[in-house]
Assembly symmetry: C2
Homo-oligomer: 394 residues x 2
């Protein structure tokens, strides 16, 4: 089965609707400011109140420089000093991967911080959201994010995850905590949730308001290749004997035991949750439903395990019949949660709709959340986490 | 006082000896391989057994593309597909910041991982060192690196440090640990030591061999601006009333108390060390000698507190007369440690020599280490840490 992370950019590229645009025709509002994702001290890129991006780069000998953002390329214009500048159309609120194009070379913008997405480290930009308070760095107690190295025998390689421990973890040294396993999307990696996802700040803010139970969050990499096997294309879950993907095997047999051995966890199914976005949602729903002795809480952010299909699901055959007995699922699953942004491109809305129809037909209870006016990007997923985490471990 | 981090690149730029070179004339040895600092799956840049770098980038419409590395720019040549490729001269072993130049635009190489140095996030490359084993990721118990956020009242801003806790820290929950405060150089930040510095892996390897006492390492940012004051140019330590730099005040009044409150430290001078590289060495020697009630172990990697002066130091007046009474210094300081690479550019060798002459004149004991065949870069500093850490807290 093929599964691809569709950013707004790549979705438009795939459907062939990429535009080569001139810099906006109407004069933009001149209240541009450097963005929160700029490198220290860098004046560009900037964003204005219309959510337009102004990019600028010195390239005195270049013939053509473009800003490539939000599925569109914008020609920049050169001034007498050789500095190229231009403005985009208004973009959706939230986080966008982007790049510059200089005489045909696709390169990161040296003005921006770099993030891992679209299968590369490259530029990213934050378009301020009206509700940005919920993931802002505030004067509340903060947890820490730890880089945890571990050796995987299944892949015969060193792997890394990031582990959020809540503010009281190092003080309250006899307390044990429930765990949320939180996965990125296709073309992303274990850095996504704690950097552009702001998972740590979202939980710090929720815990400070007593809206969420203090919990550990484990953010690992959703790709794994079994030793001796050829690496699969990114996004193609690799299935070994018994239909278990390599990542599922790493998660169940290595990551969870490693976390339970190294952190003060409540190591039982009632205190374990898994959530993921896009490809990570697909993986989450498959892995949790295959392992209900391990997990009792499940969330799919912008994705379900029937992706990319949009046709009606037959519960008798789908995913080995795991949804056949709806009453049994309801008994075992404490929280089944699905979310989607209202501006997400196809096939996400239709694919998630088909999955919901199946759940409803089977009488399986689930929580449904729509993120208003957001696309297939990190603002949707930050909101998903903010909505989902308070329901856990109650 | 002005203090600048002189990378090999900027040293050559400053002294005006920047070269615009053609791709090497003699044919390179054709054993090029992708480097350890490449982005996942990227085939370029590559390095060969002569320590030459081959860079490659697609830029079909460009007129001129250069690789800018090691203080020299190399013209790349274009093939029929629009891909530009070229090879550098042999480079020193170790870690180098570099960039690409596309028709005059200075941009990161999209094939490399990105590092903070030279006051920017940009490309870096590892030229394999003969002794790379001591900082390799090995099958030994690993500590974790934690991202610790804290609010600084002095600067009225949120700051961040990275904290290495040794392998047994979370298991041995009644044990307390000594602390090494470890600083980066000019134009670098709190990410340097745990990423390109490999401080965590160096300590994991030393601790596994019982060559170093398990310790906590705190890596903070050596820049601070007091609230209400104008930001100083990078590298210029800001001095407030009483001659205390803003960073010194943050270190003594905020970072150390925060670490002692949040980690299981041995919170006394005998169990506290500070070390730094280049600008961080200057800061370390000043801060520790001003605060011998706080620290008893001091190390300067490629730098001393008389930088950039190379003239004889008068202990009666230098740094407020802190070295006047050599016997008193010997009594208070457990380890005074200085290191330098044999290929470092001026003024480092002469400046460090003048400082050592002063120590010797005063009868102050210190350990001297020369890193053979290394420049003013991270291989020197990794070796410094590997040599210095075993002497601590004995």
């Amino acid at each position: 089965m093929k599964f691809r992370y569709i950013s707004l950019l790549s979705a438009l590229l795939i459907t062939g609707s990429i535009c080569i645009g001139q810099t906006t025709q109407t004069a933009p509002v001149e209240d541009f400011k450097p963005t929160s994702t700029n490198q220290p001290g860098k004046q560009f890129p900037q964003v204005n109140s219309e959510r337009r991006v102004r990019a600028s780069i010195s390239a005195p000998q270049a013939q053509k420089v473009m800003l490539d953002i939000g599925g569109k390329r914008y020609d920049l214009t050169k001034d007498e000093k050789g500095v190229w500048t231009g403005v985009s159309d208004p973009l959706d609120e939230g986080f966008h991967y982007y790049q510059m194009n200089i005489d045909g070379a696709q390169v990161p913008d040296p003005g921006s911080l770099f993030f891992y997405g679209a299968s590369r480290w490259g530029s990213g930009i934050e378009i301020p959201a009206k509700d940005q308070e919920f993931y802002a760095l505030k004067d509340v107690p903060h947890g820490v994010v730890r880089e945890q190295l571990y050796y995987s025998k299944i892949t015969e390689s060193w792997r890394r995850c990031f582990v959020y421990t809540p503010p009281d973890y190092d003080k309250n040294i006899s307390a044990r905590y429930p765990v949320l396993y939180l996965q990125h999307g296709s073309g992303e990696d274990e850095t996504g949730w704690a950097v552009q996802g702001k998972a740590n700040l979202i939980l710090d803010n929720l815990i400070a308001k007593k809206k969420a139970v203090p919990m550990i969050i484990v953010m690992d990499k959703g790709y794994a290749t079994k030793a001796g096997q050829t690496q699969q294309p990114q996004g193609a879950p690799q299935r070994g004997a018994g239909g278990m993907s390599a990542f599922e095997e790493v998660m169940i047999k290595e990551i969870i035991p490693m976390i339970d051995a190294n952190y003060r966890t409540k190591a039982d199914r009632l205190n374990r949750a898994m959530a993921g976005l896009s490809m990570g949602a697909n993986q989450t729903i498959q892995i949790t439903m295959n392992n209900l002795d391990v997990f009792s809480n499940i969330a799919g952010f912008s994705g379900t395990s029937n992706y990319p299909n949009t046709t009606a699901i037959d519960p008798a055959t789908f995913q080995g019949g795991k949804y056949k007995d709806g009453a049994a699922v309801n008994k075992q699953v404490k929280v089944f949660w699905l979310g989607l942004g209202t501006k997400e491109p196809n096939p996400f809305p239709a694919s998630v709709r088909a999955f919901r129809d199946m759940l409803e037909k089977q009488g399986i209870k689930y929580v449904w959340y729509e993120s208003q006016e957001t696309a297939h990007e990190w603002l949707t997923w930050r909101r998903d986490l903010y909505q989902f985490a308070p329901l856990l471990f109650r």
